[in-house]
């Protein structure tokens, strides 16, 4: 339902939380697009390499052939380029926008970064430290949810906003990680508000249609782990 003459193409990877973030934004705004799956590990397409020559990463959104890169920049772009479609993701007040941007950056730079680190850590000590950082980040997000939502269902208030979409990219992996490692990151004792948010967010129609299948993600994670182990072995190890 994009405006006449608007062609949207998303270069992505079904398992990527960053790509999911963009799909969530497109879905919530009611925008149709062509979903192009990139073979990230097999061989990136010419289109991807030409569209994102600097980082060579997904997601890339092509709007009438013009590329926009980086999930958070893409989401802001979608919000600004299609103001009439669906709800506004970013608030109108400049201070609230600054707060939303701050916490969106925090999701990637702190929460996701330490969570990924805990998965990649070689020693038990490193893992424990990274996980500790992750839990601290969850605590901060819980407090932020409380402050931003002001008793309403979403970070954005009554309707889904920028921060919901940003954190929303992690939803499928949060469920997959629980199946893989038995750890529930947003759990009832540590972060009851986030636990409730996760459930509520996942129930939205616009979200359900784009969420990747959790069991498939679990399989994918196992395959990736095996592939990386094999590559490390081939490289001769340390």
């Amino acid at each position: 339902m994009a405006g006449g003459g608007d062609e949207l193409k998303l270069l992505g990877l079904w398992a990527s939380p960053f790509v999911l973030r963009v799909k969530l934004a497109l879905s919530i705004k009611g925008l149709s697009y062509e979903d192009v799956e990139e073979d990230i590990f097999g061989g990136k397409s010419e289109l991807l390499l030409n569209s994102n020559p600097v980082h060579k990463k997904v997601p890339v959104l092509l709007h009438n052939g013009k590329p926009i890169c980086d999930s958070q920049i893409i989401v802001q772009y979608i919000d600004e380029a299609f103001p009439g479609s669906g709800p506004s993701l970013l608030p109108t007040d400049p201070l609230e926008r600054a707060v939303a941007r701050f916490w969106a950056a925090y999701v990637d730079d702190k929460l996701l970064a330490s969570w990924l680190q805990s998965g990649k850590s070689k020693t038990e000590e490193e893992k424990a430290e990274a996980f500790k950082q992750t839990l601290m980040a969850v605590e901060n997000m819980e407090r932020t949810f409380n402050e931003c939502s002001k008793g309403k269902p979403f970070f954005g208030g009554d309707s889904v906003g920028y921060l919901d979409v940003t954190l929303g990219g992690l939803v499928a992996w949060l469920h997959a990680a629980e199946k893989l490692h038995g750890v529930r990151l947003f759990d009832a004792t540590r972060s009851p508000l986030l636990e409730a948010w996760l459930e509520r967010f996942g129930e939205l129609e616009a979200v359900k249609v784009v969420l990747p299948d959790v069991d498939s993600l679990v399989e994918y994670a196992k395959q990736r782990q095996a592939a990386e182990a094999a590559a490390a072995a081939d490289a001769g190890g340390n």
């Binding site: 600097v54 920049i73 400049p94 600054a98 941007r101």
Partner: protein
């Protein structure tokens, strides 16, 4: 004291910080009066900790008692909260996305690589040198033949990158990189920006940046 809600703008900052300078330049470009509060990063003030409890870092802009953190977020805030004066970000959504992309690139690459240039020696330093040249060439490519990153007007990306031009001398002396030689268009852009009042007033003199880093190197025992 708690409960004190000062009216107006205050900037919690550290004199040599390129991130803080971005904010100072933006404030001056918009002709906004503000109170500059130099912070002692070795002994952080209660105001700083209270204003940025999550990261405890500068810069922090406090507007009518409410803090805004992270330099690029602060610059966007200044642009949006004081929208009547000339815009730093373009109005077209695609151009805005491009501006944000390059500002983010500068954020993720320049400072980190620059730090490795003076903090390391031998192979890691050679690697940092190679990376920095690549980063600068990439930015030069983005600039192209335009007078400024955004086109004809000084804007968001220029604000994001210009404070680092005061570090070119330091990169040259410690990292053996001549920006003039490797990226002449970028060097010309730096000179052009340096003629603006807001930039002249707020960038640290390159020799002072060099002295500051030289002192840090001694402190960390890096010969």
């Amino acid at each position: 004291m708690a409960g004190e809600k000062r009216k107006g703008l205050q900037l919690l900052d550290f004199w040599v910080s390129p991130f803080g300078q971005r904010c100072r330049i933006a404030l001056d470009e918009k002709a906004l009066p503000y109170e500059y509060l130099e912070q002692d990063l070795g002994n952080k003030s209660e105001l700083l900790i209270r204003s940025n409890p999550v990261h405890k870092k500068i810069p922090v802009l406090v507007h009518d008692g409410r803090p805004v953190c992270e330099s690029l977020i602060i610059v966007q805030y200044i642009d949006e909260a004081f929208s009547s004066s000339s815009s730093l970000l373009p109005s077209d959504p695609y151009a805005r996305a491009q501006a944000r992309f390059w500002a983010d690139y500068i954020d993720k690459k320049v400072y980190d690589c620059g730090t490795r240039l003076w903090k390391t020696k031998g192979e890691p330093q050679q690697q940092a040198r190679k990376e920095m040249v690549e980063i600068l060439k990439t930015l030069e490519g983005a600039l192209g033949d335009k007078p400024y990153f955004g086109g004809d007007e000084f804007g968001f990306v220029d604000v994001a990158f210009v404070p680092f031009t005061a570090w070119f001398l330091t990169y040259e002396r410690f990292g053996e990189i001549s920006v003039e030689k490797e990226c002449p268009k970028l060097a010309a852009w730096a000179k052009r920006c340096g003629e603006r009042e807001s930039v002249k007033k707020n960038l640290s003199p390159p020799e002072k940046v060099y002295e500051f880093i030289a002192t840090l190197k001694k402190k960390f025992g890096i010969e």
